[in-house]
């Protein structure tokens, strides 16, 4: 929970097909900073094959926008993993 009682907190658990995929999603999404860091605090973590995101936001509106954007990003990563994951797994050690 946030230290400030007025802030809004949302936690989202997204299970992935494997711990590796969850870790990839975390790393890919982590790179882009939140557009309003003073009003949105984001914490991402992985537990086994679950990607856990916690958002602390100043307003309800920001909570909605942030979660929407996050879920859209997760959706894109999941579809990319779904499309290319099986091919990637076929050859675990990539040729140099």
């Amino acid at each position: 929970m946030s230290s400030n009682p007025d802030w809004h907190t949302i936690t989202i658990h997204v299970p992935f097909a494997s711990a590796k995929h969850a870790e990839i999603a975390l790393q890919a999404i982590q790179v882009d900073r939140e557009l309003q860091p003073h009003a949105v605090k984001r914490t991402l973590s992985v537990e086994d094959d679950v990607l856990i995101a916690t958002f602390d936001t100043l307003t309800v509106r920001l909570a909605r926008l942030t979660v929407n954007a996050y879920l859209e990003n997760v959706d894109l990563v999941v579809r990319t993993l779904q499309e290319f994951g099986p091919i990637a797994a076929q050859r675990p050690a990539p040729p140099s």
């Binding site: 990839i24 790179v31 882009d32």
Partner: protein, 366 residues
């Protein structure tokens, strides 16, 4: 200063290199695979693109464009790999557009690039969109050290290379030339399919009347927003006939949409030719390379050719497959920098809407 012999810092590769490029800075999503061979030659294995086309009278909004890219990206990437007959395992690096462009579409494409990079354990290469255009233009046309006119929907720049930097000689002070054309196409309700600029070009061929418009070159720079306002004002003129037809046999003094397209093209292309000519005089080059979406306009190419012939120079231009935004140019510029040892670390792979052409260190040129 004594003449220096410049050694090309880019050595021929010891083995073939493959790169995939993902581009999505505006309303096109493109993917392409390029191959660099041991003898220094380059071959395009595939170049696939899908364009987000809006209804007549509408432009593309960042959010909707990002949605389009998110929907089409995986299909386009798969098709590009199939056409190139390779697997993602075979590529040496994954190149993506770092900027400049629209924020949401850029971010979506970067997210896909990052995911693929992590999944296949391939290095990521962030590419400046403008440098991508220039490098692909140089590769396709074989131009040596040209003055580059980069004209598209978002950018208008006259560029020349010097000391590992593409220096901007002149540029637009407000909107890009393609933006001016696109927005005028909306005013007269032209279709956005395949591109508003293309439809203006076709319409202009039917134009008979050259109307007076402001001519706005300012030193090496140009300005288009006032011209757009002026041409829009003609559509409220009492002589304007939206259907292009006279009302009766006496109705001779009329202005048609075709006349406006013709006048707009003649005026703004004359401005571009003027600043390009001045840049040629500055650097003493006899070559002109036209890149960017507007670069496939044949009228612009013709006008440039007339100027070049008078100066005993040469124009290098391309067709739409390489002129309009595409993935292969990102792959080409990305692979050049990758071969020079450049790599974008994951933590630095966020995109930026503002990324000027001259911020890039062109390490692969002497």
């Amino acid at each position: 200063m004594p003449a220096r012999v410049l050694n090309n810092p880019l050595k021929n590769p010891e083995r073939p290199y493959l790169a995939i490029g993902l581009e999505g800075s505006a309303n096109k999503f493109g993917a392409g695979v390029i191959k660099h061979l041991e003898d220094g030659s380059t071959s395009v294995l595939s170049n696939v693109r899908h364009t987000y086309i809006t209804p007549p009278g509408e432009g593309f909004q960042p959010r909707d464009t990002a949605l389009h890219h998110r929907e089409w990206a995986l299909k386009v990437i798969n098709e590009c790999l199939v056409k190139a007959n390779i697997s993602m395992h075979d590529v040496d690096c994954i190149c993506f557009t770092e900027g400049p462009g629209m924020g949401a579409p850029l971010q979506s494409v970067a997210l896909i690039a990052r995911t693929l990079s992590l999944l296949f354990n391939k290095p990521l290469i962030g590419v400046n969109h403008c440098v991508g255009h220039i490098e692909m233009g140089r590769e396709v046309t074989g131009a040596h050290n040209p003055v580059v006119l980069y004209v598209s929907g978002g950018n208008t720049q006259v560029i020349a290379y010097s000391r590992q930097c593409y220096r901007i000689f002149g540029e637009t002070l407000d909107i890009a030339v393609g933006n001016c054309l696109d927005r005028f196409a909306r005013v007269i309700d032209l279709s956005n399919d395949p591109a508003p600029g293309y439809n203006i070009e076709q319409e202009a061929k039917k134009g008979k009347r050259l109307l007076s418009l402001p001519y706005a070159t300012k030193g090496m720079d140009v300005s288009f927003s006032g011209i757009l306002t002026a041409i829009e004002a003609y559509t409220y003129d009492k002589r304007f006939r939206a259907d292009g037809l006279p009302r009766n046999s006496e109705d001779q003094d009329i202005i048609t949409p075709a006349d406006l397209c013709f006048s707009l093209q003649e005026t703004i292309y004359a401005m571009l030719v003027e600043i390009t000519e001045r840049a040629m005089a500055h650097i003493g080059s006899k070559e002109i390379l036209i890149v960017g979406g507007v670069g496939c306009n044949e009228r612009l190419q013709d006008m440039m050719r007339i100027m070049a012939e008078e100066r005993e120079g040469k124009v290098f231009a391309m067709d739409e497959s390489f002129c309009i935004d595409n993935g292969i140019m990102i792959a080409q510029a990305g692979l050049l920098s990758f071969r020079m040892g450049f790599e974008t670390p994951l933590s630095k792979s966020s995109t930026t809407q503002r990324f000027r052409t001259d911020e890039v260190h062109v390490s692969w040129r002497a």
